[in-house]
Subunit: 159 residues, 2 copies
Amino acid sequence: MAEKAFQEYYPDVLAHCYGCGRLNEHGHQIKSYWAGEESVCRFTPAPHHIAVPGYVYGGMLASLIDCHGTGTAAAAAYRAEGRDMASQPPLRFLTASLRVEYVKPTPLGVTLEIRGKVKEAKGRKVVIEEWIVANGVVTVRGEVVAVQVPEQMLDDLVT
Amino acid sequence: MAEKAFQEYYPDVLAHCYGCGRLNEHGHQIKSYWAGEESVCRFTPAPHHIAVPGYVYGGMLASLIDCHGTGTAAAAAYRAEGRDMASQPPLRFLTASLRVEYVKPTPLGVTLEIRGKVKEAKGRKVVIEEWIVANGVVTVRGEVVAVQVPEQMLDDLVT
């Protein structure tokens, strides 16, 4: 796919996150894209990301909701300003709170589709509604309240 | 410590969880204990469990809340029945929902203390209130709604 993922635009100093940092060799390195008004990330958990035999570990699913949520919040902030994600200064979001509802057990061994959309955007706060689909069935619903990283914190990290 | 952790009583078939399974060599293998009416788990995230430089990845913190919560729910269920955790049949809980509030950034490089207590117990549902302490400061607050694994599901897994 020629299109770059949201996470590929993160500045290097912010690209170490275990969930979504492209520079974290031990991490999940998730990749999120727009699909119309929704965002989508495809991820296949490893066999050791198990809960009980046959099913995905809930903490992994929470992690996917978390990082796909902050990624979608950032991408939505650029969109709202009519800016390309490569433009400066970078807009990055941290998770203020996370809610995950395990609707059904999520089967291990299949590619999951994590989908998100902006539920609310107000000032520096963006609320992302998300759901995870396995084999065409929604198994998880979640919500991330993401807050834009203050410029001062970004400056402190970058310099 | 001579005392066994909650997770050391899980039957083998249920001891593969990435967060708390003692048999998952790739996982976190967290260990939870009673401390009076509260439960406690100590865990030191690895350097690669990073969010932004200096701070712990939110998905890891959600994972700790998740597994310490289901462990505490199980231990509380045995306590409520006046049973030893080694007694049969095993009582195990799965997460129905998870809520995590990131109150402050959680510093990387220190041992975290995850604490929990039963907020509500009603039939097969147990609600665990939790908080994470780093350097004496509460950085995360969370809640897990845990539901007892149905006997039939346990039987299917065990046999």
